[in-house]
Symmetry: C2
Subunit: 199 residues, 2 copies
DNA sequence: CTTCTAATGCAAGTGCTTTCGCGTTAGAGT
DNA sequence: ACTCTAACGCGAAAGCACTTGCATTAGAAG
């Protein structure tokens, strides 16, 4: 149901409208209080007609997912230097910032709820999740942490940061005060689990 | 603004309509694919008029939160026997079941998103969260786990189970196949963190 | 038992989201 | 350069969530 990248006509106009809509979504997301957007608003701001947006993306959720996947693929790298603690700290801090800035939470929320929708979950967000899982595996392999799995990283780093950002949202200014300290604690938890499993 | 329990007129009719609406919400939630409900649907099923529901609860989110708080206060105890591992296992398994059954996820989602809304978060879900935090603290105190905080329980048990249930939703039958194994691993993670902090 | 009033029922109305049919445009193939 | 057609713009209409004013009912108080 989501936007297929290998389109029959990926030409100039289609790409332009997609970029315009994506840009409008990011702008609106940055000013949205609850992380939701309305497609008519997107249409008005982007200059693209309502009907076009409804035809291409069908729902607001699918549009958010499309923007989220485009964003994550661009920025947000997963380091794999062999130093597990340093890698996790770098990744966690990056995630904490991107999730706490204005629009970031809405994008992550779109990914989560997309994965929860059986129709879209496997086909849409599944590929992206798989890519990240592979990168996590590489990170763990280089560090020789065979006792850990990518799921551990998700559970110990990703989920807590996501929910924490969700609960902090609206109660804190966007300058992320104590998030770094939280990241450090979360990374230490991973190290603790690793050592515990080694005996 | 959520339902205030200390009403000026808590009498029979008000209680009846509240119960009818709550029951309808639980039924609809059990059949809802995405965990959302529409107030007109609730009105139709409960036999209570739309306008009444809109006046009392204002939004669907607030209604969900009201049902969630009523549910959590009834069932879902937090054990505190002094055996941390046993307490966490019992609580985690209970949480895993209640979160994986049809309507359970929507209720937890309501709690989360309510906490994210600055207008409702502190006043509404805050009290409930505080109560549970105190129980967690008691659990940790009885077990002598002074190195852990209730936030650790949230991050290491609650959040992973919540998101896992969210992603499993719709892809698995409601008989919770591998959730118990996950709970055990999550509890072990807590133990690992505890031991790590003790040196 | 009577009075008072909050809570509910009722029905019309408002506004926003979403869809549909049709004419037009612009990129791709030859 | 010419054709073909997917993608787009346009306006109107349909559908649904949500609101509002008023009449009615049923607990609560005296």
């Amino acid at each position: 149901m989501t936007q297929v990248t290998g389109n029959a006509r990926p030409g100039g106009r289609t790409a332009r409208t997609r970029d315009a809509v994506h840009a409008a979504v990011r702008e609106l997301l940055a000013t949205s209080a609850d992380g939701t957007i309305s497609l008519p608003e997107v249409a008005a701001r982007s200059g693209v007609h309502q009907a076009t947006i409804y035809r291409r993306w069908r729902t607001a959720e699918a549009l958010l997912l499309d923007v989220a996947m485009a964003d994550v693929n661009d920025r947000s790298p997963v380091p794999a230097t062999g130093d597990l603690r340093a890698d996790l700290l770098a990744y966690g801090r990056h995630l904490a910032v991107s999730v706490t800035r204005p629009g970031g939470l809405g994008l992550l929320r779109a990914l989560i709820s997309a994965a929860a929708d059986p129709a879209v979950g496997l086909a849409g967000a599944g590929e992206l999740t798989e890519q990240r899982m592979e990168r996590f595996q590489t990170m763990l392999d280089r560090a020789g942490a065979t006792e850990l799995t990518p799921v551990d990283i998700l559970e110990l780093i990703h989920f807590p940061l996501y929910v924490a950002a969700m609960m902090l949202h609206g109660q804190r200014p966007p300058d992320v005060p104590e998030m770094p300290g939280n990241v450090e604690r979360l990374v230490d938890n991973v190290i603790a689990v690793l050592e515990h499993r080694r005996g």
